[in-house]
Symmetry: C2
DNA sequence: ATCGGTGTATTAAGCGATTAATACATATTT
DNA sequence: AAATATGTATTAATCGCTTAATACACCGAT
């Protein structure tokens, strides 16, 4: 558990993003327990309410499930998990294509650039 | 001149983005005059200071040049114009590759998705 | 039953950034 | 020279959102 916070985006957004990526990668598996609000807050040195805010977002999106007096768990609904990954991808693709199109970058050019960047890429995982 | 404002990003940012795209596409050519602050404000129904803010950003980036009592003009510096387009592209590519990598999307998959989206794409130009 | 842990709700505080109001100096035009 | 239009600077108001403070209800273990 180690999040590199920037001071650009809200903390709770960054926390959500972190968990989404972890889930999408499969590092967090279906049904797996995640830390309590207060514990997460301690680990990350953030306010418990901020942790709660993040968990609430994920709860509303169906990513995690919470039962009384049990640790919240990653949903076991495979559809949701599949959808999550898909949504992240679709969003990334949409933004990218929209951007390059708006400045008249050809498809070939775009593909080449992606390929180069991907292969060369400073891995940030 | 027609900008579709969202209420997500600051107005001046959206104005800058609009002009950048126009320039990157070549719709605004080197040396071409652009509206005065107040005129732009009238057309877009925004506060003159917001227009000024946008122009100031562009001025600082070297995209436009302003001489006393003359309309601001798109820079004639071809280098700047080339750099602009390059920067927009690099930024888009970086964000995209970073996103897909963070959720373990393979290069091939990414390329395919871009291709599909690009070709199918609802043109937003 | 008491204590410590949990999730949750409500409310307030704080902060940052955007937008707006206003004024000033200059230049061109009538 | 008066009027109008320009760019610019300074300051204030506004607004939204994030974060924090606090309290409540629940449960399990001691």
């Amino acid at each position: 558990m180690n999040i590199q916070f920037n001071n650009r985006d809200p903390v709770y957004v960054q926390v959500v993003r972190y968990f989404k990526n972890q889930i999408a990668k499969g590092f967090l598996e279906p049904g797996q327990a995640i830390p309590s609000r207060r514990e997460l807050a301690n680990q990350l040195k953030i306010n418990p309410n901020t942790a709660q805010r993040a968990y609430k977002e994920m709860e509303e999106e169906g990513l995690i499930k919470t039962e009384k007096n049990q640790p919240s768990r990653v949903t076991s609904d495979e559809n949701v998990l599949q959808d999550l990954r898909d949504e992240l991808i679709v969003q990334a693709v949409s933004e990218f294509v929209s951007s390059v199109k708006s400045i008249n970058v050809s498809l070939d050019e775009a593909l080449n650039l992606v390929k180069q960047k991907y292969e060369k890429g400073d891995s940030d995982d």
